[in-house]
Amino acid sequence: MEPPQQPPKPHFSLPVDADHKATEFRLFSLSTPHMTAFHLSWLSLFSNFFSTFSIPPLLSYIRSDLQLSSTEIGYGGIASFTGAIFSRLAMGPACDLFGPRIASSTLSLLTAPIVLSVSLIQSPLSFILVRFLIGFCLANFVANQFWMSSMFSPNVVGLANGFAAGWANVGSGATQLLMPLIVSLLTDSFQIPTSTAWRAAFVVPAVFQSLTAILVLIYGQDLPDGNYSSKKNSRKTGGSGNSLFTVLFTGLRNYRGWILGLTYGYCFGVELTTDNIIAEYFYDRFGVDVDVAGAIAASFGFANVVSRPAGGVLSDEMGRRFGMRGRLWSLWVVQTVAGLLCVLLGRVDSLWGSVVVMCCFSVFVQAASGLTFGVVPFVSKRSLGVISGMTGSGGTLGAVVTQLLLFSGSNQFSTQTGISLMGLMMIVSTLSLGLIYFPKWGGMFCGPSFEPNSQDEEDYFLLE
C-alpha cells in the first residue's frame, strides 16, 4: 500500500509556530502573508481614524457655515464615538464568523460614502448624524487586533498589536494636519471659496478609505494558511464548549475585563476626546490659525508612532522582570502621570507651554493604551476576542462620557477647566487597577495565591 500523500509543506519567509503564526516580527518587511497582513491592517485602520477625525480640524469653518453652537459641536463629538461602542462589540463575533478581512473591508467600504456625504450636510442635526455614522468604522480596531492575533504567535503578538494600533492611531494626527492644508490648497491655488473648499476636502479621506479597503480585499488573507471562506476549521481553541454564548458569557463575567474597560476608557478614551477638542482649543484660546491649530493637534496624534508600541514593549519588559505585578504597576504609573499632565495642560496659560505639556501628555496617555493591551491577553484566552471588545468598547464609552460631561456646551466651565477635570478623572479611575488580581500571578499589592508553574505559558489557557 502506498503511504498517504502528505500535503506539501507551506513555505513561509518568517519562522512560524505550529499554527503557522509568525514567531518573529519584522517591521519593515512585506513578506506574505504575515507582514503583508500587518501593513494592510494598520493602513486600513489608519484610514478609518483619518476619516473619523477629519471633521474636528475644520470645525472653525463648519461651525460658521452650519451655524453650530458649542452644544451641537459637543454632541457631534459624542456621537462620533457612540456608534463605535456597539460596532466594536459586534465586530468580535463578526470576525469570528466572516474573518477580519471581509469584516473590516466591508465596514470601511460602507462608511466611505458617509464620509463623502459630509459635503452635503446643511444643518446641525445632519452634522451630528453624519459624525455618528462615520464613527462606526472605528470598530475596525477590533478586526485589526484580531487579525494580528491570528497571524502572530503569542510571544510577538503584543508587539504586533502595539505597532498596528499605534501606527493606525497616527491617522488621527495626520488628518488634523492634512485637512486644513487641503482646504488651504483649494482656497489658495484653485480660488474656491472656503465654504465649498471644506466640503470638497472630504473626498480625500473617503477615497483613501475605499482604496485601503480594496487593497485588504485583494491582497489580504485571514489566516496564514488561507481565508476563512476556504477553511472549515473553527478558530481559536477548537473543540466543543466554545460556542459563541459560552465565550461571550465567560468574557462578560470576568471582572478584570470591566476594570480594564474602565481604565482604557480613561487612557484611550481621553486620547479620542482630546483628538476631538484640541484643534478648536488652540484656535479659540490662543488665536492661532486653523492650519497651525491643526499642526499642533496633529503632533498629539503623531506621537503614537512610537509611544503606543513603547507602552507595549515596556509592559513586556516589566512582565519579564516582575511578572504581572510589573505590568500592572507600570500601567498605573504611566496612566497616573498622564493624568497629572492632563491636569497641568488645563492650567498652563501660554501657547508654547501648552504645546510642550500636550506633547508630554500624548506620549504618556498613548503608552498607557499600549500597556493596557499588554495586560488584556492574560485575562482570558478562550474569550480573548470578547475581552478585547469590552476593553475596546470601554475606550470609546470613556470618550463619550468624558465628552458629554466636560465638553458639550459652553455653559458651566471653560475648555481648559474641562481638560484639568479630565486629568483628575483619569487619576481616580486608574486607582481601580489595584483591584485586579490574578490567582496565578498576583496583583498590584498581593502575590499569587498558589505556586506559579514554571515557565509554562500554556497553563493560563486552562484557567478561563
Partner: protein, 200 residues
C-alpha cells in the same frame, strides 16, 4: 552687547505688557453716531447685498474730544442672539479678548470736519448666517481704541439685521460625492460576486 540684549528684551516685554491687557470697552465713550442702511429685521445675502454705513461725531459732546482720534474702523458685529452658546463669538470687556466684532467693513483715517461720512460695502462671501449690528471704533495715535459708536442700543436689542451666508454646496460636488459613493458600494458587491464565482 549686553545693553543691546537688555534693550531688545525690555522692548519685547513692553510690547507684551501692552498687548496683555487691552482697553476696557466699558471705559469708552459713545461719541460717534453710526447708522446703517439695513432696516431692523431685514435679511441680506452675503456676497450680494450691500450695506451703506454713515458715521459722524456726536455734537452734544464737547467739541475738542475728538482731537485724539486718528484712525477709525467700522465693523460688523454679532448680536447677542448669535453669541448664545458660541464661545468663539463671546463679548469680553477687555477689547484684546473681545470677539464680538470679527469683520471689517471699512477702515481709514478719522475725518475731523463735521458732517457725515459714509461708505458702501458689499457683504463679504465669508460672512456666516447670523444676526448683526454695526459698530465703529475710533483709535488714537497709538492704535488704541478711544471711542465708539454703534447702530444699536447699549443692550444690543434694536436695529439688528440678518445676513444669510453662502451655502458652499455645489452641484458638481454633490455629483462627485454620489459617484464616488456608488463606486465604493459597487466595489464591495463586485468583490463578493467575484469571490462567489471563484468558489464555484
Amino acid at each position: 552687547m549686553d545693553v543691546c540684549g537688555f534693550l531688545v528684551v525690555s522692548l519685547l516685554l513692553s510690547c507684551l505688557v501692552e498687548t496683555c491687557y487691552g482697553v476696557a470697552f466699558s471705559s469708552l465713550q459713545s461719541t460717534l453716531v453710526v447708522t446703517a442702511s439695513p432696516t431692523p429685521g431685514q435679511v441680506l445675502k452675503a456676497g450680494q447685498d450691500q450695506i451703506t454705513v454713515t458715521w459722524s461725531y456726536n455734537q452734544t459732546y464737547p467739541s475738542g474730544t475728538d482731537s485724539t482720534y486718528k484712525t477709525m474702523k467700522v465693523k460688523l458685529c454679532y448680536a447677542p442672539i448669535s453669541q448664545v452658546d458660541r464661545s468663539w463669538r463671546k463679548t469680553n470687556d477687555d477689547l484684546n479678548k473681545d470677539k464680538t466684532c470679527q469683520f471689517n467693513i471699512i477702515s481709514g483715517p478719522y475725518n475731523r470736519t463735521s458732517g457725515n461720512s459714509s461708505s458702501t460695502w458689499t457683504i463679504g462671501k465669508d460672512i456666516p448666517t447670523a444676526t448683526y449690528f454695526v459698530r465703529a471704533y475710533a483709535y488714537n495715535a497709538d492704535g488704541v481704541e478711544t471711542a465708539y459708536g454703534q447702530t444699536t442700543n447699549p443692550q444690543k436689542t434694536t436695529y439688528l439685521f440678518e445676513v444669510t451666508g453662502i451655502s458652499g454646496r455645489h452641484v458638481s460636488l454633490d455629483v462627485a460625492s454620489i459617484c464616488f459613493s456608488a463606486f465604493s458600494i459597487v466595489a464591495l458587491f463586485g468583490f463578493f460576486f467575484i469571490e462567489k464565482r471563484k468558489a464555484e
